[in-house]
Symmetry: C2
Subunit: 109 residues, 2 copies
């Protein structure tokens, strides 16, 4: 994510939502705020560390909001910002496309 001028909008969009997990996270948060642990369970296979890293990046990009409740044991909720929701909307057709062609994609090797 070095400071540069992107070639086109797609390029820029991929810079913020690219990577193996961000799309899934956006997707998972679409229905409402989730706690850290809930998110981890919502995205099977992701490690705690990576989850945090991704969330931090998304927070820095303004896609998600992080709300800390000062309790013990700790509670932190993550939710989409307006910006995040708008990205999610733009991502929806891609998700549908993937859904439609799932079999073909899985057969790729």
């Amino acid at each position: 994510m070095t400071k540069r001028t992107y070639i086109c909008g797609l390029d820029a969009a991929i810079a913020v939502m690219g990577g193996k997990w961000k799309g899934l996270l956006l997707f998972s948060l679409d229905e409402g705020p989730l706690r850290f642990g809930e998110l981890r369970r919502a995205v099977p296979g992701i490690s705690e560390r990576i989850l945090i890293l991704q969330l931090r990046e998304m927070e820095a990009s303004g896609l998600v909001h992080r709300e800390v409740y000062h309790q013990v044991p700790p509670k932190v909720e993550y939710s989409l910002t307006e910006f995040g929701r708008s990205l999610n909307a733009a991502l929806a057709p891609l998700g549908e496309w993937g859904e439609e062609h799932m079999e073909r994609i899985e057969a790729i090797p």
Copy 2:
């Protein structure tokens, strides 16, 4: 791209078009077939090797078609398949989103 079951459509879609360059390549090929060298010029910054690797993957995924003309000097044209065009269509909103929020995205660091 290991054979597995994807979590959702978005996940699957990202598996085929993820990475730094594939989106740009899809985008570049949208207006019509391009030769290898033309593609290289269309996507500034990509190295020859990476370009070839990406094209091979996209060919394997059925997104692009590779047409060889037996001439000297050699000529090879790359074009989108129907599958590739459908992906491109699903990608369009994301491209627009990026275009709209370009400034904000560039300011992210």
